[in-house]
Assembly symmetry: C2
DNA sequence: GTTCTACTTCAAGTCGACTTGAAGTCAAGA
DNA sequence: TCTTGACTTCAAGTCGACTTGAAGTAGAAC
């Protein structure tokens, strides 16, 4: 949403800087239905219509990237929505970023332990996993919540 | 979380060390409703009833630990159900474990990049994140799916 | 014997992020 | 001008893992 564009926008010059929803969908790799959904949630906005079709400012691509980034960092759409100031410019709380980084760090360590254990179990010669000491240790950890309390969301992918 | 209160062994001896659902719920840290749900899904089974109340074999605790483990590794309940042979003994495909480990590994690396970038952005002196080169690089990566395509499930928490 | 209470069943609700379906609209091409 | 087909709206559906609520039951305490 940096200004700059919006130059000669004569109606006949079809050379609009505006992007059709299909174009945005294609370029961002996001279904049109999702774009409408995001708009409804206030995450993005269309600049106008051509007929019924939504038109977007090219800046929407950046915004979608920002949204995608937030999603992969584990933010909910609502959280992401809060990251944009009313004027549309991103306003990201640095403290929040740091907190999320710490969270990720923790999660990463957990997953590391898990990965190593899984690998061990995969190679372990014990006839049954239940007889493998490493596996049992993992089990105990999981049982006591040592690895990751199965709260609500799950990491896996 | 060890023995103790090994059920009031009152009444008839040979109470077979069966655990009441409340006991299992408490020891495993899993709500009774979840135990019923798991049973319905075929993930665990009760050995009988005392009145209406379900009774469980102590082995169910280990099984629940196994389930918790699978959950934190990112397996769905259905996948976990498939990990038990019809006889109830775990039958974990080592190849599957290895595959999951690889998956985790990949995810871990993604999250690592993300964490580093978040940390940088949090400390970055650029007036706006959009002007921070590192942040922009991250954005581009997210936009091109380089970090993690926001498929269906999200890693977060 | 009565009451208390923790269990029981079954159906339905929840949550987040979308997707899907039906019915309608409109710019562009034949 | 008419047809086409990609868009539009709005409501409802989906998915996974549970949770919640209503109505019922039985063992244990009194």
């Amino acid at each position: 949403m940096t200004d700059m564009t919006e130059t000669t926008e004569t109606s006949d010059a079809t050379e609009t800087t505006q992007l059709d929803i299909a174009e945005v969908s294609h370029r961002a790799g996001v279904p049109a239905s999702t774009l409408r959904y995001y708009e409804e949630k206030g995450l993005i906005s269309s600049t106008g219509r051509r007929g019924l079709r939504r038109q977007y400012d090219p800046g929407v691509l950046e915004r979608l990237a920002l949204i995608a980034l937030g999603r992969t960092a584990g933010f909910s759409l609502d959280e992401i929505a809060d990251m944009f100031a009313p004027d549309g410019r991103p306003r990201i709380d640095r403290g929040m970023l740091a907190a999320k980084a710490d969270e990720l760090d923790h999660r990463i360590r957990e997953l590391g332990v898990l990965r190593d254990s899984l690998r061990h179990a995969a190679a372990c010669p014990a006839p049954s996993h239940l007889e493998c000491p490493t596996f049992r240790r993992l089990l105990d950890a999981a049982a006591s919540g040592g690895v990751a309390a199965p709260g609500r969301r799950i990491p896996g992918r």
